[in-house]
Symmetry: C2
DNA sequence: GAAAGTCCTTGATATAAATCAATCGATTAA
DNA sequence: TTAATCGATTGATTTATATCAAGGACTTTC
């Protein structure tokens, strides 16, 4: 946080993230209907958030990794409206929302940060609507892989290879496709020499080609 | 606002919504790339927000009516990332976001309200992902009509009939379908005696049947 | 190390929605 | 009033993805 805060101020802000919680792979951090008390900052590990229908259909609404915030869905109704499941053993900071609101009034920089985090989530979901409403399977998977590797790279990992933390079915649910379609699309990208896939391991061999798939109409001179 | 605020406080809060702006049908209130300065509360009229791709594909991300807030997408990057277009002549309150942040620090009730508005939008978009990822055309249109008429009813209009403010193409874009599919699905619901449609006029004849379409797996005893 | 359980891949076929095309109706302009 | 335009409907056909089905590759358990 880039501000002129003194030691006392820093201690107050630290109090937001004072308590931590471990979540084992497969466990839920919170689930639909739970009372909302806190936002969670992921310290380590990997989560999915998902909704389930009355008739059992599941929609994965996001995959979250270290440094990202989950739980924003709970603010509006004081209850969570989705499930947050750890896809690998994880540790989160529990940030009681009452504290966040109190300290936001005292520290404009925190207030601004909270607003940006929420707005970022809105913009991300706007992009998901574009993806789900307009893109073909290959475009969706290409955009998904580029987004994932970019976020991993921002955390110091490779910009070309990764280990997926989720199954084909979960990717499919996120992208509005069936697991078989995800599998076939991986195979297609692999046959085309654009990526290398071995189970959960993915390496991006030709990132430009992958980007071109997400922007199919781009003229060659623009690339 | 249900709080113990004195006259002076009320005047401060009113200052947020001091300036108004008229937007003619077809005009944009803001568009992708515009600097973000304000949120807008719709006083009268009807808007759509939409994203366009590099290659010209358009995704309608929402339809907004009186009392709803648009512009939240701009907070994260200080620039808007979508277009807001008036579908009929409209009037909005211009709410400078700097004022909102200042007064939110002073009035917890306003702070809370801002957080809920943003969270509500996140939850709505979660639901859209479920719709776009998992539902069939008939389910999407049924859910869309029920949502629209419910919001209109909350504003004092009929709970069974409405005039659509948007074209079939715009509905299709919102629901991830083509305009022909929207038209055919309207005709199907009409033939089944569930709704009556004449151009932009829609009347819901059998709301329970419409709800059943959105929850296809519900057993009869649950309805 | 065999068995069981997950997850993934691939093939054959079905299907919902898209696309292409023509017409119709309603509104606006001349 | 007649064009002209825009939006909506409907039909015929195509297509991308889903579905159904079988087998293969890892991983975990005992």
């Amino acid at each position: 946080m880039p501000v002129g805060l003194d030691v006392n101020d820093m201690q107050k802000l630290d109090s937001i993230v004072a308590t931590r919680k471990h979540v084992k792979q497969g466990q839920m951090l919170f689930s639909n209907g739970d009372p909302f008390t806190s936002l969670y900052a992921i310290r380590t590990g990997f989560f999915k958030t998902c909704l389930s229908n009355e008739d059992g259909r599941e929609q994965v609404t996001g995959f979250q990794m270290a440094g990202e915030i989950i739980g924003l869905d709970g603010i509006v109704s004081d209850h969570h409206s989705c499930n947050a499941v750890a896809l690998e053993d994880a540790e989160v900071c529990v940030m009681p929302f009452a504290n966040i609101e109190d300290l936001s009034r005292e520290f404009p920089v925190l207030q601004r940060h909270v607003h940006k985090v929420m707005s970022r989530e809105i913009v991300r979901e706007n992009g998901m609507m574009m993806m789900l409403g307009n893109m073909r399977a290959e475009e969706r998977l290409a955009a998904f892989l580029l987004n994932l590797v970019q976020r991993l790279h921002a955390r110091g990992f490779s910009q070309s290879e990764m280990i997926l933390r989720m199954t084909r079915e979960e990717i499919g649910s996120y992208l509005g496709l069936k697991l078989e379609t995800i599998s076939r699309t991986f195979s297609k990208l692999s046959e085309d020499g654009i990526i290398e896939v071995k189970q959960r391991y993915v390496r991006i061999l030709r990132p430009d080609e992958l980007k071109k798939i997400t922007n199919p109409q781009m003229s060659p001179s623009c690339s």
